[in-house]
Structures are given as C-alpha cells and as structure tokens.
C-alpha cells in the first residue's frame, strides 16, 4: 500500500474515535453556527442570551450520556449545574466583597448576605474560593464527588430506573431547601448576586461578554467531542449493551455499577461546567436552578433534541430556550402550556426528538443526493474492508437508532 492510503486510514481511524467523519462535520457545523453565524446576526444583548441557552446544552449533553445511552434518568441534574454555578459564584462573590467594597458592613470583607445574617467571619467551606485555581478545580471536583457518592450508594445497591429518578429528584428538593434555609452561608433564595469582576476584569462589559460567550462555545464543543469519544469507545458500546441486557454485561465480567457511576459522574461534570459558564454570563446564581422544576426542564431540553444524540441535545436546549424566551415575551400565559404540551408530544409523538426527525427525513435526502451526485470514490470501500465494524461509521447506522425504541 502506498503512503497516502495509510495516512487516510489513520485519519479515518482517528475520526472513528469520535463517531466518524459525519459526526465531526456536524460538530463543525455547530461550531460554525454558534461561533460565526450567531455573533454576526445578533447584537451583544441577544448573544449573551444565546450564551445562557448554550449553558443548558451542557446539561442536555450530559443527560444524553447518562439517560440516552446509560438508561439512567437523573431528575437531579440541576444539582450539578447549580454546584458548578455556585462554585464559580462563590469565587466571584469573594472578589466582589473586598474589605474596601464592603466597608459599610459591620464585618467588612465578607459577602453582604453573610453580614445581614450576623455572620462575623467567612465559613470554612468558603475559604478555598479565594483562589481561582482551586475554584476551577472545585467546579469539577465538587459535583464529581457528589455524583460519585450518590452513584456509588445507588448503583452498588442496584437502585435504578424509576427509583433512581425519584431519589435524585428528592435530593434536588433537599438541596433547594438547604440552600434557601441556610441563607447566611448560601445567600438563600436570592442566591449569590452582584457579581461584577473576574480577577479584576469587569465581566459586564460588552467585550467581556463576547469573550465569555466564545469561551462557553469552546467549552461546549470540547464537551461534545469528549461525549462523542465516550459513546464511540468500547465503553459507549457497553452502555448500550447494558441498557439491553444488564445481566449479560454483568456476567461477561464487567462491574456494572462502576460503568453507571462513571457515566453519571461524567454527565454531572459536564453539567457543572455549564453551570459555571452560566454564572459568568448571567452574573449570578440562585437556588431556582437546583430545584426539581429546573432539573426536569433540563430533561426536556435533552428529550426534544433527541436523547440519543449529543449534537441533537445541544440544538434542543438552544431551541427550547429560544422558544421559551420569545413565546414568553408575546404570550406569557401560553408558554407554560406549550412547555407542558412539549413534554407530552416528545414522549408520545417523537421519542427520538429532533435528531430522530432529522434522521428520518435526512436519510432519504442524503441517499438521493448520493445517487444524483455520484462520484467515483474507491477509498472508503477499501477502508471498510480493512477496518471492520467500527462502532458507528455512518451517521445513520442502524444499531444506534434502533436502540431508541427500548425506552
């Protein structure tokens, strides 16, 4: 074989790790849309809003991993979104509460809500948030640890399905009560507000908003790539296998609990990163994102996009929020009903979400395109022979899609 061919082969192998060329092109399209088209079309006000919607895409992508592939429906993703967001907010709040800024308080140098609640010194768990590096670590580590603990306790005891959903929902509800009840430490129902600078850099200027938006886009794309890597690895196949025949996986020598814990932790970490970007772009964090209502709304973002498509979930989160925002401007009463109807419709009429619809309609179109504009393309055929059954070489490969009926 001559050299270009081996190179092409290596490249295609490399791409297969992320779901093949088709998926990578789809991610590039998203990148183009959010990083070129949107900034060109929208003013900074809209763009900032879009950035907020994109932070929900993180959660939706996480849910695709753990619900769509792992079959684990978590109704508590808001917890992790909130943990990430709160970690970031705590750092920003400490920065905003320098002794000079808070000279008017009875104890200067602590966040204003602590002062109102008669706290006279910073609680221990706030201390690490003086350091930006530590904050960045904690944004990932705290939700990961929490998800690990929940996952460990539940999956090792084989709690799954409906029970897991109900218990995570209960935990989300407990978290909300706790945050609201302990307002001296958490800011209570107001949340942590009035966040203005990041290491001395004013995050409210238009320029800062642009920078944060692009950073958010970048992080989202990385998370999507990471997600693609996960579902196209042997581990991704295991997730599908586990959903089909959990016992078979277990009796093939796998520790099923560990597989589940990992996917749950991964989903949580991705959500938490979204939460951190939310705080940065919106300028505050409040318990309303932790609660049961927010958490279940996040599930619908994922379901609308397609619970088996990471890319679809990103679109889903964006579009649902866009619709919510524009509908609520014109018909505030109608929005709630529309949201309710969306829940029902996505379950009854198109359980595979937008991604499913696109596959149903794009498949024939693509075939038609291929036949009409047929070009001599010998290379892929060879490729397929030499590199057998990559998990998912073509975007509309049957196994993944037929997996959708089982839930």
């Amino acid at each position: 074989m001559d050299k270009p061919d081996t190179q092409a082969l290596a490249a295609s192998r490399w791409m297969d790790k992320f779901g093949g060329r088709g998926k990578l092109i789809q991610i590039l399209i998203i990148a183009f849309l959010i990083m070129v088209v949107l900034p060109l079309c929208a003013d900074i006000f809209r763009l900032n809003l879009y950035g907020k919607y994109l932070t929900y895409a993180f959660v939706a992508a996480g849910l695709v991993l753990c619900w769509g592939y792992g079959g684990i429906l978590s109704l508590g993703q808001g917890i992790f979104f909130g943990l990430g967001g709160y970690c970031m907010a705590m750092f920003l709040k400490l920065e905003a509460s320098s002794p000079e800024n808070t000279a008017i308080q009875s104890t200067p140098g602590i966040p204003d809500f602590m002062d109102w609640n008669q706290l006279t010194e910073l609680p221990w768990f706030w201390q690490p948030f003086h350091s930006f590096t530590l904050t960045l670590i904690l944004i990932v580590a705290v939700p990961a640890l929490f998800a690990f603990l929940i996952g460990f306790a539940m999956f090792k005891r084989r709690v799954g399905g409906v029970y897991f959903a109900i218990i995570t929902q209960a935990i989300a509800s407990i978290m909300t009560i706790l945050i609201i009840g302990q307002q001296g430490y958490t800011g209570g129902i107001n949340g942590i507000t009035d966040l203005r600078t990041l290491m001395g850099w004013d995050i409210q200027t238009d320029f800062a908003k642009y920078v944060l938006y692009f950073a958010c886009c970048g992080a989202l794309l990385l998370c999507l790539l990471a997600g693609q890597f996960i579902i196209n690895s042997r581990y991704g196949q295991l997730l599908i296998a586990m959903r089909d025949q959990e016992d078979r996986v277990r009796f093939s020598g796998y520790d099923v609990a560990n597989i589940k814990i990992f996917v749950f932790v991964a989903a949580s970490v991705i959500s938490a990163i979204g939460g951190a970007f939310f705080t940065l772009q919106v300028g505050f964090m409040s318990p309303s994102f932790v609660g049961t209502v927010a958490s279940i709304e996040m599930v619908i973002f994922c379901a609308v996009g397609g619970r088996l498509s990471l890319i679809g979930a990103a679109y889903g989160a964006f579009l649902v929020n866009l619709a919510k925002s524009s509908l609520s401007e014109t018909f505030p009463q109608l929005w709630v009903v529309a949201m309710g109807a969306l829940f029902i419709a996505v379950v009854m009429l198109f359980p595979r979400g937008l991604a499913g619809l696109v596959d149903d309609y794009a498949g024939p179109v693509r075939r038609w395109m291929k036949e009409t504009f047929k070009r001599p393309q010998p290379a892929p055929a060879v490729e397929k022979k030499t590199a057998p059954p990559a998990s998912n070489t073509s975007p509309d490969s049957a196994p993944i899609l037929s997996a959708q009926e089982s839930h």
């Binding site: 996960i230 690895s233 042997r234 581990y235 089909d244 025949q245 277990r250 093939s252 020598g253 099923v256």
Partner: protein, 246 residues
Amino acid sequence: MTSPILLAVEGLTVSFDGFKAVDDLSLYVERNEVRVVIGPNGAGKTTLLDLICGKTRATDGSIKFKDTELTRLAEDKIVHEGVGRKFQTPSIYENLTVFQNLELSYPKGRTVFGSLFFRRTPAITARVKEIAEMIYLDDDLEKSAGLLSHGQKQWLEIGMLLIQDPELLMLDEPVAGMSVVERERTAELLNRISTNRSVLVIEHDMDFVKDIAHKVTVLHQGKVLAEGKMDDIQKNERVIEVYLGH
C-alpha cells in the same frame, strides 16, 4: 498436581421467604466433564446456576471453584475466576452487531477506563473471527444481533462466553426452541468446546442429553435425587417416578 474437581458445591441452601428452592445440595464437577442437570420444573435447576454465578446469594453452604469460595464473590469477579453462564432466554445485545457482541465479551478493557481507551488489535479481530466460525456465524459478523434467528442468538451467546475462555461453562437450556438441525449442530458445538473445559448444562431434551452428557444429575425439590451415567439414571425408579414417568 491440581485436583480433578473443578467445582465443589456443598450443603448449598437458599430460601425465599421460607421456601427452600435449593436445599442442602452437594455436587461435584470434574475438569473437562460435561455434566447435565435435569429435573422437573421448580426443581431448582436455574436457581443452582444463579447461585454459582452469583446472581442469587446462598443462605447457607459453600461453592468452591478451584480453590476459591464463590458464595461471597461479586458477579464480575466470579466471571474473572473463569465461570461463564448462558441464560435461558438468549441474552445478547440486540442493538449491536454480532462482531460488537463478541468483541464486547472479549476479556480486555473491562474497567471503565480500560474500556474508554480500548484499542482493537489484529489479535482481537482474529479471535472474534475464530469464535464466529465456531458458532456458525462467520458470515453474519456485520448483522445486527437483533436480526438473528432464535437458534443463532443462542449460539451467539455461547460464543460470547467462549471468547472469554472460561474453565466452567454453564448453559441453561441451550437447545430450547431449536430446530432439529440446529440441535444437532449445537450438540456438535458442545462436544467440540468441552475438550478443554467443564460444562454444566440444564436441559429437558433427553435425546440431546444423551448426546452430550458424561454424567447426569437429577434434581427434585431442591435436592439431588440421583446422579450417574444417563443409562443408569434412566433405569432409576425414583427418577422415573418423579420425572420421566410423566
């Protein structure tokens, strides 16, 4: 010298809310032996396999595999010890291809991170093909497993166990629902694969049992009723009474 006994079940008991599905049962399987367990419905056959592979936990008694006590071991650890188990209804991953089914069962990359960074080597591909040939599925590697016939699914599941090269293979009614031809091929398959491992089979089909069994154990109400060569068993009056009689 290793002992000729591969699996030693002693005094095994399990009760569900007072009902003893397996009651003080003892059983020894030798290396390279094909042992068939028969018995009427509810005799505790499937429960016995569940106990050995860890799906159900014993109330009392011991299961020794080689020198390892299995009763307290986690399921995946029991598999790592070298015990493979096929379920009564074919349990395969219908949404994956035959190739993927077999590859996923290949005993490598079994940890989370191992599976994330798993790389397919030519050796693995070769091994998958070898097994596929053995289970008569070498032409269907790319087929989605859900599209296979019932008999082929049974073979695939056996193949998924074979690729792990277990020392003890436990099969729960491997030929149930198979055509005559398929049944013959399955018998042939079992004879071929039992040359270097022990096989524990639950089966109802007496002709098939005759074809493969070295030794037969008859269970009744969670206890061993009789054990020995098939010919002897067929002559055993108690067995005839409870089982073959009707």
